[in-house]
């Protein structure tokens, strides 16, 4: 008889022991086993194994099993029944009724879809018409028709524009990753920005004649945009172009785009020195051609709707502007600037009072605008989809400057470094001093902790104790900076271990200073 492979034989023997072979298969296998001593031994062992396993003693019967199970089933059924306002067995009936009801309502809505759509559309149009015909009736005057290029540059850097000569109220545009774009109208903030002039910019950046022409043109464009962005009406109405919050960044991006890389570095220095809320994040790339800069700048900013504020409401309304007649009107009313200010103040005060005494909502739903007001400032959040696309100039990245958090521990002396923590389009700049960091670090090391093996331990402590954010990029910066300042981790670790066993608090200070090689 042909010898079976071991694996097949094993399977067949198992099936034989389990009584799963047919009569013919059994007969053939037995013939084979009789002829093969090893197979016979295997079969005997398999039978024995089966016998041993089957010997397992059964558990003693559980007499109370049903009682417990029954109680549990009752409890569960009770729970389920309590949740329903009708007997459980009626669930399919009610479910069916629900489906039928939804289908009937859906059918009715579908049948009446045209009248319903018309109704909502009509209501919406009626509200819109009421505003455009009544609220906006009367003359509109541009609030910023007399600003110069210095003020445009000031706006580009800081996003602020005084709304009257005495700067009692200010328009401020702002952006941040968390809060989005914002327009604030109201009292100026306490820390007023330093005055900026175009000549300072020119001195710092040192542009060529062509570049100077581009900058001049951009500031002029900016002036015109601002001029047509904020109006005040005779019926206590203020209209603001919702694209305004992106204009300042657009001006800065466009200026940076026309500069050479070294000039961009100087431009960034210019911004940094004045603590402008924007920064140049990259300096590389060839200057853009003036035509392209103008093109991008011009096509980016087409206001078709304005945010119209009255003392009671805020709506997004279409305002048709005739700039020539507006300028003419502004010229005629040149002596009434104080009247404009009064109008603005009346709107703001009305808004603030409304806010304080009533709850109200934006007339146009789902527009993405949000508004908050207090007695000083009306703040409008603008959805980020509107306005200038500052990503047009890919090589030149202008973004909100990281707020600087200075070290408060050791204000004088010692090497310091900045940790830049980015998050999306914004971030934070931590200014740390090596000495103060190490002092603070040592002071906060828990007694008995000895696991400082490398810079990562320091970073972990930084996260733990200083609340610094955890971020790979930041860790790399830490490593780099600590290496640059030759912080010797072996010495540091030894010092920490020695320090750990010194009980006196006073002895810690001189020791921790020795850990840093300068």
């Amino acid at each position: 008889m042909k010898r079976l492979p071991k694996r097949n034989l094993s399977k067949l023997l198992t099936q034989y022991v389990d009584g799963e072979l047919s009569v013919d298969q059994e007969r053939e296998l037995m013939e084979y086993v009789r002829a093969d001593e090893e197979a016979a031994k295997d079969l005997a062992e398999l039978r024995a194994v089966k016998g041993i396993v089957a010997k397992q003693e059964p558990l003693p019967p559980d007499r109370g099993f049903w009682a417990r199970l029954s109680t549990e089933l009752d409890r569960r059924e009770g729970q389920q029944e309590n949740l329903l306002p009708f007997p459980r067995r009626l669930v399919p009936v009610f479910a069916g009724l629900g489906v039928v009801a939804i289908a009937v309502i859906g059918f009715l809505v579908f049948q009446n879809r045209i009248p319903l759509t018309d109704y909502f559309s009509e209501q919406s149009q009626r509200v819109q018409k009421a505003y455009e015909e009544n609220v906006l009736r009367g003359s509109l005057l541009p609030v910023f028709d007399r600003i110069d290029k210095n003020q445009v540059l000031q706006f580009a850097l800081f996003g602020t524009l005084p709304m009257d000569a005495s700067a009692q109220s200010t328009l401020r545009v702002d952006e941040s990753a968390e809060k989005g774009y914002r327009i604030d109208v109201g009292k100026p903030t306490s820390g007023s920005e330093p005055p900026v002039t175009v000549s300072e910019l020119v001195r710092e950046v040192d542009p060529s004649a062509t570049q100077l022409q581009v900058i001049d043109s951009l500031l002029d464009f900016g002036r015109k945009k601002i001029e047509t962005s904020v109006f005040v009406g005779s019926d206590q109405v203020v209209a603001i172009d919702p694209n305004l919050p992106r204009l300042n960044r657009a001006i800065l991006s466009s200026i940076a785009a026309c500069l050479e890389p070294p000039q961009r570095v100087r431009f960034e220095r210019f911004l940094q020195a004045r603590n402008a809320p924007y920064m140049l994040a990259s300096f590389e790339g060839q200057p853009e051609k003036p035509e392209r800069i103008y093109d991008v700048f011009k096509r980016s900013h087409h206001p078709d709707r304005f945010l119209v504020m009255t003392p009671d409401t805020l709506v997004l309304a279409e305002v048709e502007l005739n700039l020539d007649s507006l300028r003419e009107a502004a010229f005629r009313l040149a002596g009434e600037r104080s009247g404009i200010q009064l109008q603005v103040n009346a709107v703001l005060q009305g808004f603030a009072q409304r806010r304080l005494t009533h709850s109200w909502r934006f007339v146009q739903q789902n527009s993405g605008f949000d508004i908050q007001a207090d007695s000083d400032v009306v703040s409008i959040r603008v959805p980020s989809r509107v306005g200038f696309d500052h990503t047009e100039f890919k090589e030149v990245v202008v973004r909100p400057r990281f707020p600087r958090i200075p070290s408060t521990l050791s204000p004088k002396g010692g090497p310091s470094f900045n940790i830049r923590y980015s998050h999306g389009d914004s971030g934070t700049l931590f200014e740390m001093q090596i000495d103060s960091l190490m002092m603070r670090f040592f002071r906060n090391v828990p007694r008995g902790m000895t696991g400082f093996e490398d810079v990562d331990s320091i970073i972990e402590m930084g996260e733990l104790r200083f609340g610094l954010p955890s971020d790979e990029e930041m860790h790399d910066q830490w490593r780099q900076v600590l290496r640059q300042h030759k912080v010797d981790f072996d010495t540091l670790r030894e010092q920490i271990r020695k320090w750990m066993v010194v009980p006196s608090e006073k002895e810690r200070v001189p020791k921790k200073r020795t850990a840093i090689k300068k």
Partner: protein, 217 residues
């Protein structure tokens, strides 16, 4: 189809049930514990909870022993068995008689046990106490027992416990519960060929471990 009067365990509860050939006039008069699984299921589906009780009492020990065979943990048995019967209670109303009741019940039991085994595996991994089960060598090491110090029952238990789940469950279903290959395949929701291979492999592992006792016997 025919409509018959059905007598519940309480003679006062007389209902009319629609049933098929499984339900005969004779079975209506039998005590519940003598009725077939199919009849009890039909009674239960018509609202007789005592029919479910009869099914539980018929199979509770088999389910408990199956759970015990798989886990070798007496503390776990009753909770697991209760879970199994709760699941059966919830599912029995929709039982379509496409398999036998006990195969269906075993499938619920095996699935519940698998869930528990999965959870335990995760816990083992987390507590870093697991042993690698991949190679035969390691498996044999795990299977090694001290025959002189242990009772036979404990040895069998330990030996079975050391088998990977996919080999242990078919052995238990076959050798302890006496299921056929087809029923095992149905219970474990796999092919008969898989059952054959796993049983063959499982027995081979068991032979290696139990050889000293086989020789003594």
């Amino acid at each position: 189809m025919k409509t018959l009067p059905v007598y519940m365990s309480d003679p006062e509860d007389k209902v009319t049930a629609t049933t098929d050939a499984r339900f005969t006039a004779r079975s209506a008069t039998e005590p519940l514990h003598q009725k077939s699984d199919e009849v009890l299921i039909t009674l239960f589906q018509n609202g007789d909870r005592n029919a479910f009780r009869a099914l539980v009492e018929r199979y509770q020990e088999r389910v408990r022993n199956l759970v015990f065979s798989i886990f070798q943990d007496g503390d776990l048995v009753n909770d697991m068995a209760q879970d199994v019967f709760i699941k059966a209670y919830e599912g029995l109303r929709n039982f379509r008689f496409q398999s036998s009741f006990y195969t269906w019940l075993y499938r619920i039991t095996v699935n519940r046990c698998r869930d528990e085994l999965r959870k335990r595996k995760v816990r083992k991994l987390l507590s870093l106490q697991s042993l690698l089960e991949s190679s035969d060598k390691e498996l044999i090491e795990r299977l090694s027992v001290e025959p002189r110090d242990k009772e036979m029952q404990e040895i069998i238990s330990k030996t079975l416990q050391a088998l990977p789940d996919k080999y242990r469950i078919p052995v238990i279903l076959k050798d302890i519960n006496g299921l056929s290959y087809e029923e095992i395949a149905e219970t474990m929701q796999c092919e008969i060929g898989t059952v054959k291979s796993r049983l063959s492999r499982a027995r081979s592992m068991l032979r290696k471990t139990l050889r000293p006792f086989i020789e003594e016997m």
